[in-house]
Assembly symmetry: C2
């Protein structure tokens, strides 16, 4: 399959390399076509890897991953062009974290409590099928769920389109070793408020546990 | 020991009855001394149970539990009198939930993201040792951790005073079956922002799992 990834940071590169390793074609998108980090990633990842602008990557991918910093998301989507997301599954990994007030971070006030980046992205891309996923774990765990507790821990997803969520579940199971029975669908995209709001808590737990390589398993 | 409980709802009554069952003396406090629910609880719980005003309960307890609705906390503390909390361990179970906008709830805007009820309570009671605890699980699980997964799941606490947090850990282990190694101290009372912010998420998980009798176990 062809995947487009918006964002060239650690998360975007980690997702991209993991998809390349599974035999997919991946284009990393950034603000400028010649972004240094993206070029280096392309050179390191073989003939199925490429890079371009946000618009190039959005047009390229059959499925898209949004791996941007929270405060850069909206500009990037406008630069990418909403028409390039038309009828595509868009996996939103973003978090509206605000580190300006120290650790643990708070949320950017405009994406807090009664609104979320997930909802804003769906609003900006009305003809796309946005699924919020993977934003609650560290990058290396996103792409290999087996790295923690033999894959027995939970991922929380949400989105308005049921078929898109089913596709994302399959994609995460087939490529990233997530066990479908541990992927919990919380409901429509409004639930991004809840899954984004637990990320400052995640940072506090990371500080207490002294590792980012953990997750939560729901037990009853 | 003598415990005072502020609040006569399901959480306060459940905590109170569990402490009575362990042989402690408990006074439930409410806005008025003759609160019907509190009188009924006293009559049902034997000679170690009593009830009175918020001030009566705060003065009575060596250790105090705050089990109030989020939007009633500050009035109740002012009615109770800050001097009655002097040098006492105060366990804060409150959540600033706002159900006025539908389910899952949001947080009351004044206790959201960059401030919390835990911090506000510590500010209102500057000579007390406030420990935020138990606010992330359902009442019946608060008082018997063994009801889920043989007690293998996590409780998150925070507060400014290290000795107070150690006392609370012992109290939770001795009375409510919480395993000390599963009680994670996140740091100072500022971390109440994080442990309160995960409660709307808890409600969403409860709706997806169709039971409140669950918790999270951190796995690595």
């Amino acid at each position: 399959m062809k995947f487009g990834i918006l964002g060239t940071g650690g998360v975007g590169q980690t997702i991209g390399s993991a998809l390349i390793a599974k035999g997919h074609e991946v284009m990393l998108g950034s603000r400028t076509a010649a972004n240094e980090k993206a070029v280096a990633w392309t050179n390191a990842n073989g003939s199925n890897a490429s890079n371009g602008t946000f618009a190039d990557a959005a047009a390229f991918g059959e499925v898209l991953f949004i791996c941007l910093n929270g405060n850069g998301v909206i500009d990037a989507l406008q630069s990418a062009g909403a028409e390039n997301f038309n009828n595509k599954v868009v996996i939103d990994l973003t978090n509206p974290l605000d580190f300006s007030k120290g650790m643990p971070p708070s949320l950017l006030p405009q994406y807090c409590n009664t609104w979320s980046l997930g909802e804003e992205i769906q609003k900006q891309l009305p003809t796309a099928f946005v699924v919020k996923a993977l934003n609650t774990v560290t990058a290396n765990l996103m792409v290999d769920a087996n790295r923690v507790n033999d894959g027995h821990h939970n991922l929380f997803i949400c989105g308005n389109d049921v078929d898109a969520k089913i596709k994302v579940k399959h994609l995460l199971a087939d490529n990233f070793n997530w066990k479908p029975e541990f992927i919990l669908d919380l409901g429509d995209i409004k639930h991004a408020r809840m899954t984004e709001a637990i990320v400052p808590f995640w940072v506090a737990v990371m500080q207490a546990e002294k590792t980012p390589m953990f997750n939560y398993m729901i037990v009853t």
